[in-house]
């Protein structure tokens, strides 16, 4: 202990470093690492920014193109929907006109069935000694033929209407 107490103090060498005032111009490893890390960080930053901006630009172009396509499709769909609605309206008119014709055709068919029955009676009872059945059949036939003529006049008018509707319908079909 006495030896230690009397010996001169040993100077402790301070390690070189950023705080070393004795070596202000010396660049430490720490600085090199910091510089390298910064450069790497900058490189990563540049890469991320370039890739990000490129990706953003591409995505924006793609989005704009798809938006344009959607707008165009909307216009096309609206036109198509309008045309379809018009077509349905025309088809409904055709159906209504056909309904009128078919209703009259039903009546004509019923009349024709009765006329057929009258014809059968006339043929089957022509040779009867008593002509009353034949004559009655002829009378009924005359009335039915008159009614048939009336119905045919009506159905011809209905057919004209139907043909006009069909012509408009066909014209629209050709146009579309």
């Amino acid at each position: 202990m006495s030896h230690t107490a009397h010996s001169a103090p040993v100077p402790i060498a301070s390690p070189p470093g950023p705080t070393d005032p004795a070596e202000p111009s010396r660049i430490s490893r720490w600085h090199v690492v910091l510089a390298a890390a910064s450069v790497v960080l900058l490189g990563i930053g540049v890469a991320v920014l370039v890739l990000g901006r490129t990706s953003e630009s591409n995505a924006n172009s793609d989005r704009d193109a798809k938006r344009e396509q959607l707008i165009s499709q909307r216009k096309s769909s609206a036109a198509s929907s309008q045309a379809a609605q018009q077509r349905r309206g025309q088809a409904a008119q055709v159906a209504d006109a056909a309904d009128a014709v078919l209703s009259l055709a039903d009546q004509i068919a019923q009349n024709d069935a009765q006329l057929l029955s009258v014809g059968q009676d006339a043929v089957n009872h022509y040779a009867d000694a008593n002509p009353s059945v034949y004559n009655a059949a002829v009378d009924r036939g005359t009335a039915l033929i008159a009614r048939d003529g009336d119905l045919k006049g009506q159905i011809n008018a209905a057919l004209d209407t139907l043909r006009a509707k069909l012509a408009t319908f066909d014209q629209a079909t050709t146009a579309s």
């Binding site: 920014l49 924006n60 989005r63 929907s81």
Partner: protein, 154 residues
């Protein structure tokens, strides 16, 4: 003051500045990626909507085409009905003429000849008229079916 401008400090300051610029670039790049993802989502949404609209438009066009075909079919069936009706009228007129001729023959004092005519020519004509009436009835049913289909398609 000269110690503050030492290469070591300049390097430190430069490194930090470059690092900060790098971080800022990374942040900006990330924001750009985020914006790109949002744009891609929008593009995907637009594409989905466009496909949906296109599919809907195709369905509408197909439906319109079906309605057009059914409308034309109604016209065709009614034309057939009219043709069948005209044939029936023609057959019925033939039968009527035949009966008129038989009546004339009967009134002229030849009842047996008239009866024979009605029997020999009237019956086959009547059968033809019955066939024609059957065809007209079938045409009428087909025309009703066509009109019904058109109505259902509207």
């Amino acid at each position: 003051m000269s110690r503050n401008r030492s290469p070591r400090r300049l390097l430190s300051a430069g490194s930090i500045a470059v690092g900060v610029v790098g971080v800022v670039m990374i942040v900006l790049g990330t924001l750009a990626f985020s914006s790109a993802f949002a744009a891609r989502d929008d593009a995907h949404r637009f594409a989905t909507q466009r496909r949906s609209l296109a599919a809907s438009e195709r369905a509408t066009e197909e439906h319109t085409q079906t309605v057009s075909l059914q409308g034309r079919n109604v016209g065709d069936q009614i034309d057939k009905l009219v043709a069948a009706g005209n044939q029936l009228v023609s057959g019925a007129n033939t039968l009527g003429t035949l009966l008129d001729q038989a009546d004339a023959q009967y009134n002229a004092g030849n009842p047996r000849g008239a009866a024979a005519d009605v029997d020999n020519r009237g019956r086959p004509t009547l059968n033809e008229v019955q066939d024609l009436a059957g065809r007209e009835s079938q045409s009428l049913t087909e025309a009703h079916d066509a009109e019904q289909k058109l109505r259902e398609g509207l």
